[in-house]
Amino acid sequence: MKTASAPSVSRRVGSGTDRASSSRLAAPRAPSFLSPRTARRGLSLLLALLWLIFAIGPIYYMLIVSFEPQSSYLNSNPWFPTAGVTAANYSAVFAGGFGQYLLNSVITTVGTTILAVTVSLLAAHVIVRRTRGISAVIFRVFLVGLAVPIQALIIPLYVEVLRLGLYNTLLALIIPLSAFAIPLTVLILVNFLRDVPRELIDAAQIDGAGPIRQLTSLIIPVAKPAITTVAIYDALTAWNNFLFPLIFTQSSNVAVLPLAIFNFSGEHLIDIPAIMAAVFLSAAPLFVLYVGARRQIIGGLTAGFSR
């Protein structure tokens, strides 16, 4: 950006000495806070800040309200409370079993990510090594699966989960979530592994490394960036999924966070500060990760779709 605009500025200033030229050249010589360039930048910044208010205003509100006492919440300005801060709402959320739901969410997310990435990595390794025949056909079928919307399959999946005896267990979430993660996970891994030089694999083979050794000592270390990206994508998807727990689980001891906060908000209709505390806590682990590893999270969010 800087290198692009520098020549144009010097050109304008240079030609500005020619007083006979058009009046718009006078603008760059005006005080800088009045120049069109400053005005334009100011307007862009203003619009950007307006959007910022809209984008994070609700999150700010959620956080602020979650610390307000239930008693004073209705009688004060909820945006800028003066009545003091309380952690009582958070205690209420933990008393409502938040620890259990958090654990369920972690188990579901970790289980789904490990299962999806493992089976996809094995498949991707074959697809890259054998670009013809049946593995190419399987790859195409996976790609078509990328297009199937989960929402359209909830009835057959529900029937299947019941028949397999998985209903109301965390496996009823982990197994279908992993299956739906396979197409994109395989696609991203295949795209990455294709760029691993064949000579490396051939060399490993000559050294006597079998398929499993090749995978653990060569492919996995080389493909680490792609594996990280796709694992984050799969984890975010599993963490935030609401539809599967809504349909496949029933008891609170297997509820994951998105479902738990929905149930919680149904049970605490008027206790808005506590509901806000619950929603905020359900996203808090991701906020913490975002602060620590923003680049990786952003990479995971756009996995496979950014260009």
Binding site: P7, V119, L122, V148, P156, Y158, N191
Partner: protein
């Protein structure tokens, strides 16, 4: 090359099968089989517990006389169109803006992406309480800030307003993601193009109009397609916000399907709706893959 393939082929087969098997079993059992079952169920009458009765096309003919499904499909169409018209221009503008490397723009972009971290269910619940007629933050502003008096409305209770509220909420949920796509797309434009243009003395607005936006063409296609599929299948945020109400004023197609299936336990007819939703989603998604993924992969495969 030919010799290598011929040599490797017999050695590779045994392990390739075992490596492929787990992904294939999972995928077939939980994606492909359900597709077939969904189509089968659309021809039976079934409440999920008793016996299934084959009824031919009667579920399908019911679709054409079902006013609720028709209205929900129409609502979904309006949501898809409104979302695209509102979200894409804002996301393009924001994406181009935060593609700049200045410090304040980096800070803005980090904050813009925060909504992406909250689940759809969390977003619905959060907004439900912000818009609550009792002590909600938005109504509070409307009641206390004169110019913004219009905010003091029953955003979720009024059948006239609630659909507009949903459109705004969906925009809030999805614009950050599309902004992210456009930021990445803008950063991928070769700076040589801008340098050449600046020598020609074009204004910054012309630069966006004649270089940035045309160069974002692929991103616009990707983003638009994801936008359309996302609005078509949206469930979590609307379900947790309104559960389709008040009345049926926010009952979009994915909600209609869920309610017919799991509240009315009419699995046969709900499967008709599911198949329609699936076909719409697949047709649109195949466009994404054709426009973005497929072309790219084919060219990479040729290089090997």
């Amino acid at each position: 090359m030919i010799g290598r393939v011929a040599l490797r082929k017999p050695r590779i087969t045994w392990w390739a099968v075992w490596f492929m098997a787990p992904a294939c079993v999972l995928f077939v059992a939980l994606v492909l089989v359900p597709v077939v079952v969904a189509v089968w169920l659309s021809f039976v009458k079934w409440n999920g517990v008793g016996a299934q009765h084959f009824v031919g096309f009667s579920n399908w003919s019911q679709l054409f006389s079902d006013a609720t499904a028709g209205a929900s499909l129409e609502r979904t169409g309006i949501l898809v169109a409104a979302s695209w018209v509102i979200q894409e221009p804002i996301a393009i503008a924001l994406g181009i803006y935060i593609a700049g490397r200045q410090r304040h723009r980096a800070v803005l972009s980090a904050l813009y992406f925060l909504p992406l971290l909250i689940s759809g269910a969390g977003i619905g619940i959060m907004w439900q309480n912000i818009l609550s007629p009792i002590g909600g933050g938005v109504q509070y502003i409307g009641a206390h800030v004169g110019v913004l008096g219009f905010l003091n409305s029953d955003w979720l209770g009024s059948t006239n307003l609630v659909f507009g509220t949903v459109v705004v909420l969906v925009a809030w949920e999805f614009i950050p993601f599309h902004t992210l796509l456009y930021q990445a797309g803008t950063r991928g434009i070769p700076s040589v193009l801008y340098e050449a243009a600046s020598l020609d003395g074009i204004s910054p607005l012309q630069r966006i109009r004649y270089i940035t936006v045309p160069m974002l063409r692929n991103t616009i296609v990707t983003s638009s397609t994801l936008n359309v599929v996302g609005s078509l299948t949206i469930f979590d945020a609307i379900y947790t916000l309104t559960q389709g109400g008040p009345g049926q004023s926010t009952r979009v197609f994915a909600l209609d399907q869920y309610i017919v299936g799991f509240n009315e336990m009419n699995f046969g007819y709900a499967s008709v709706l599911a198949v329609v939703l699936g076909i719409l989603g697949i047709v649109i998604s195949l466009i994404i893959i054709r426009v973005t993924g497929f072309g790219r992969m084919r060219s990479q495969a040729e290089g090997i």
